[in-house]
Amino acid sequence: MEFSRRDTLALGLGAAVVTVLPFSVNAAADDVIATFTGGADMADSGIELTAPEIAENGNTVPVAVSAPGASAIILIATGNPTPGVAQFNFGPLAASQSASTRIRLAGTQDVVAIAQMADGSFAKAIATVKVTIGGCGG
């Protein structure tokens, strides 16, 4: 579908039209994960991912990760055309193993954070971030 800039601006409920496609998943996300973990199992605990449930602006979504004892954390936007977002590496002298950034999301999708622990094990956290055109709160 195509909309002129004028149409988009005039929409009653609308923001950027491309951001309202249904839940999206990009198969390339699995490749990014496999490269990082080498296919190893991932624990459900040991890493915290903080992201808004509904993005205020899909173009700049604040996310924070924290995994005490991690040597590296990767952040993946599973529905973006290029799912890999960032990799944070923590040296042995790092005071805390946490980071925050802002990412752009192409639509409603799962954001995944995976930590590699000092012992070589992995931990994973998932957050679904909804990108919506909104406009009808009562």
Binding site: L11, L13, I54, T132, G137
Partner: protein, 556 residues
């Protein structure tokens, strides 16, 4: 209700019984055996209603997933059965929708902040240090509120002396105006989830919590503003602020106030009821959540673990009183009463009546001008998940005045009702339309995009996870019919979209003329919606409503 020795009671039974006897008096409405050592007074979602009004509760309020069939997602006869309310009683009139027009003739208007003042004064006479907590959506929703940019509400509410407040529609006044009012408020503005958008740090002007010493108890009140303000409302009007549920920060605040010695933790929330229910299960250590935003009025609190959730309705129609027994840093019991503000039963506080009339005086002629009438069979109301008759009238106005194929009107939950045979004044039109972004746009949309909009809004209402819901109801449509299966995921709920004027199915690639209002986009152009509706009603003279069968709901 559990492990601890906590005992709870609701005063609801009292007025239900009195109701059945048809002998409601002010003393009976206010009767309450003072309990424990702390009293909370909750009012929320007043939406600018200074004067008594009529307000019909919804007939359709669907709960999805775990919320299905749970309070507040029960209406009408089922609701009355759940609480033992007699048909035709004042409680039936206050809390359910059936026979609304007939019951309204007998029981009269509800609300009015001068009546609310009487109730507050009565509670303070019992318990002078009772905390008055305003859940927000206060500085929005009427002609005078719009013209004075919220000043009328600020003046009258200040006279009621609240102890704290949280926020939603207030921000649609624009951040400059909100900041200006908040800086001068004689009480604290709370919101643990109000953040500075640029730095993602707590906003300076809004405090996460405040401590009160009441009844010898150290009470902490934590604020929770509406989480999805920049999404549901125009974010460009308050770009400096960011919100969100931020339940991890809520937990942090609860832990912080407990560590500072709070014996009782109250959350003054504008989350919406289902979000509060979920949050009560996620965040530990909250004693009471005073819930706003979704306009539910519940005669008994809902318990989640050890947390009591109180819902106090909207439009000034109810005040909740919650008495707590706090001992050794624990809530040992509570007593609750949802007090319906029957305007003909509760005497107005004359000083507040005068203050209200002072706010209205400069606009009196404009407010009272009669634009049209409803006919003897037509009730105008809004509340419900799908079109109300007010929305049908607004959509008709958009279709005819803006010469559109399809009309869209936002699914907001505010706006009083108009009885059959009643005059419709300019004030009445503003009560259901007034806002700071009311331009009525006209644009072209493809069938596919109309579908995307309906799916998007439906997911904000019917997503099974409350944290992904924004509150509000389904976008209202005119000239368009559709079928909705509320159990399906986003993208699959809406089918059989039909252009009513031709009876043809909507073509995804075809372009339609769409008129609507309340766009969240900056620079939206068009006449103000209240002028469009006024012109339409003037032409009609007498308004007749008809049953709207254009939306077919399945899976409910």
């Amino acid at each position: 209700m559990a492990a601890s020795a906590m005992v709870g009671a609701s005063g609801f039974g009292n007025w239900a019984r009195l109701a059945a006897q048809q002998s409601l008096t002010q003393d009976q409405l206010l009767q309450f055996d003072t309990f424990g050592n702390v009293s909370l007074i909750h009012i929320t979602d007043i939406h600018g209603q200074l004067k008594p009004i009529y307000f019909r509760e919804p007939s359709v309020n669907l709960g999805i997933g775990a919320a299905n069939g749970q309070m507040p997602h029960i209406t009408g006869a089922d609701f009355r059965k759940a609480y033992g309310i007699a048909d035709g009683s004042p409680s039936a009139y206050a809390l359910t929708y059936d026979d609304f027009s007939a019951l309204a003739q007998g029981y009269g208007r509800v609300g009015g902040l001068d009546r609310v003042s009487t109730v507050i004064n009565s509670i303070r006479a019992d318990r002078p240090d009772a905390l008055l907590l305003d859940g927000g959506d206060t500085w929005h929703g009427s002609y005078t509120c719009h013209r004075t940019q919220g000043q009328d509400m600020v003046n009258v509410m200040n006279a009621l002396k609240p102890d704290a407040m949280t926020f939603h529609w207030e921000f649609t006044l624009g951040s400059e105006r909100v900041n200006q009012i908040v800086e001068e408020l004689p009480f604290v503005a709370l919101g643990q989830n109000i953040f500075d958008a640029e730095w993602d740090e707590p906003a300076e002007l809004f405090k996460p919590y405040k401590f009160y010493e009441t009844g010898g108890v150290k009470v902490a009140v934590i604020g929770q503003a509406f989480p999805y303000m920049p999404i549901a409302n125009p974010g460009w009007m308050f770009p400096e602020y960011s919100f969100g549920i931020r339940d991890e920060n809520m937990q942090k605040m609860v832990d912080e106030v407990r560590a500072k010695g709070a014996e009782c933790v109250v959350v003054l929330s504008h989350n919406g009821f289902d979000v509060d229910k979920k949050m009560a299960g996620v965040v530990s250590g909250i004693d009471v959540i005073l819930s706003g935003h979704t306009h539910d009025a519940l005669p008994e609190p809902v318990l989640v673990g050890q947390t009591v959730i109180v819902a106090s309705g909207s439009n000034g129609k109810f005040v909740s009183r919650v008495d707590l027994d706090i001992r050794d840093g624990k809530m040992m019991g509570y007593k609750h009463k949802l007090i319906p503000i029957f305007a003909d039963v509760i005497a107005p506080d004359a000083t507040i009546t005068k203050l209200i009339d002072d706010q209205r005086a400069p606009y009196k002629a404009d407010l009272e001008e009669v634009i049209g009438h409803t006919d003897d069979d037509s009730l105008l109301y809004r509340r419900g998940n799908f079109n109300g008759t007010w929305d049908d009238l607004i959509c008709d106005a958009l279709l005819s005045e803006r010469e559109a194929d399809i009309a869209m009107s936002p699914g907001v939950r505010w706006g009083p009702s108009i009885l059959p045979g009643q005059a419709i004044t300019r004030e009445d039109i503003f009560n259901v339309t007034s806002m700071s972004y009311g331009a009525a746009y006209r644009t072209e949309m493809t069938g596919e995009f109309i579908h995307v909009i309906l799916e998007d809004v439906a997911d904000n209402l019917f997503n099974p996870d409350p944290y992904y819901q924004q509150g509000g109801d389904m976008v209202r449509v005119g000239g368009l019919g559709y079928r909705i299966d509320v159990t399906k995921p986003q993208g699959e709920r809406i089918t059989e979209m039909t252009l009513l004027k031709t009876g043809e199915l909507i073509d995804a690639s075809k372009t339609y003329n769409v008129a609507g209002w309340a766009s969240v986009n900056e620079g939206t152009e068009g006449p103000q919606i209240w002028d469009v509706v006024e012109d339409h009603i003037k032409k009609l003279g007498t308004v007749s409503t008809s049953t709207n069968t254009s939306v077919q709901v399945v899976g409910a």
